[in-house]
Point group: C2
Chain length 244, copies 2
DNA sequence: GCAAGAGTAAAACACTTGTTTGAACTTATC
DNA sequence: GATAAGTTCAAACAAGTGTTTTACTCTTGC
């Protein structure tokens, strides 16, 4: 009757057989649960399905994680740690030209999205969370959404010469993020409307480059417009060069 | 024992009490089901929850619609008919300048998304379908996704001077769509990252204008670049005017 | 060697789900 | 008014869910 993992980790030197968190059934459960939760969502996934896939007993879930939600939150946590958010972070922290940083961020994010193996779990989970939130949604937002968003805000803010909390900065950041996440959330829809689209690594690079070009066109145009003209064009349509 | 609605509509002159499809419980059920399905998704919504909310007996669902899926598909169907897709269609078919048409389409789509009443159902349903597809997903794609997408492809194709099935046309179209749908799918995430964001009609107009400006910057720049230079810049980064 | 506890396994439990049943009610048609 | 079909209702059903119980195995520390 030691269902609470925290109490077990406290007296880790006393009696527990297994070293610390290297319990084989625990890990099997976490891995399988991550995959199944990512594919079917929290509600649709059953602990029996997970237990069978992990070749462990049903009661093991409740024994090791208390209940289904405990397993889910730990699986989500692990999926986040395994995610390559750091690749994006790294791209954001180098001292290259801002345009190159933005391009690198877009590439990293899109690359992490479009692969079938584990790192895409956290985005599938996020999609499920948006459709049917669980108590883990807030954690996902805090640990994935907001950090990336605020960093992107600062980067794009610098590029267009406005503070990070300016409305225009936010709108531009959401525009960039929207172009990326649409390839996750709307992928079945895109498959239906564009069957030839295959998410090969090469194609992903082409898409990322397009998103960067598409976004930089406005961002760079906005900066020059802001700097050339002093303050006037904040409401009307923005056409970087009315050369026509 | 006349559970099949089609058989009832056939012999509509023979015996049926109710005119045709003006059955009060049927309609109550459809309305309530549309709302609940849109909010909670197909799996999470229960027919008991729907029946109670509609103040009808549980068995009425199976009597009138055969089973839960029958109710769902009919509710989705009705939600699609009620949707103001026609507003977008109308915007697409007027003979105004292409830029104005694109802007009108973005406005119409974003406007239909960001309201709490019925018309936003079909987008909520779409989000749920993407997370956990049901047999109704294909219908949603066929009746909502693809038509709008192909029309947008033609419009943007004309704007950048490329055929509708060109890869660049598709990428641009997805970029525009992504900026729109992100406000639906990621709305809880945006709420967390940008709490001040309130989707008032005025704010929605500002967002729509931004998306139009953001997109037109690249689209217009791409067309002029294509027309000035003959054929050369199809792979490298696209900067509308390398004026720096 | 042996008691104690960690961990596992099978079964049962309590609950919710979609669906069905069969009787009661309603109403048009004769 | 009688009949028959459409329609509603409460109740029950069968399947599936998360969870708990109970017995059992096996290592660990004395």
């Amino acid at each position: 009757m030691d269902k609470n993992p925290s109490s077990r980790s406290l007296k880790t030197a006393k009696r527990p057989r297994r070293p610390a968190e290297a319990d084989p059934t625990r890990n099997k459960l976490l891995n399988v649960a991550g995959r199944i939760f990512a594919h079917r969502g929290y509600q649709a996934a059953t602990i029996r399905e997970i237990s069978i896939a992990a070749s462990v007993n049903v009661a093991a879930v409740n024994y090791h994680f208390g209940d289904k939600l405990g397993l889910y939150t730990e699986a989500v946590q692990q999926s986040l740690q395994a995610a390559e958010i750091e690749a994006v972070q790294n791209a954001l922290e180098q001292s290259a030209p801002l345009e190159d940083i933005l391009r690198a961020v877009i590439h990293a994010r899109l690359r992490s999205i479009c692969r079938g193996d584990r790192p895409d779990w956290h985005f599938r989970i996020l999609a499920h969370e948006l459709a049917q939130p669980t108590p883990a949604l807030q954690q996902l937002i805090d640990e994935v959404g907001r950090p990336l968003f605020t960093r992107l805000l600062e980067l794009i803010g610098k590029m267009i010469g406005l503070p990070a909390n300016d409305e225009k900065t936010r709108l531009c950041t959401i525009s960039v993020m929207g172009q990326i996440v649409v390839y996750v959330f709307a992928s079945p829809l895109l498959q239906g409307a564009w069957p030839e689209l295959k998410m090969t690594p090469k194609q992903v690079e082409r898409i990322a480059d397009h998103i960067a070009d598409f976004s930089l066109s406005y961002i760079q145009g906005y900066r020059t417009m802001i700097s050339v003209q002093s303050i006037k064009a904040t409401k009307r349509a923005v056409k970087p060069r009315a050369s026509k």
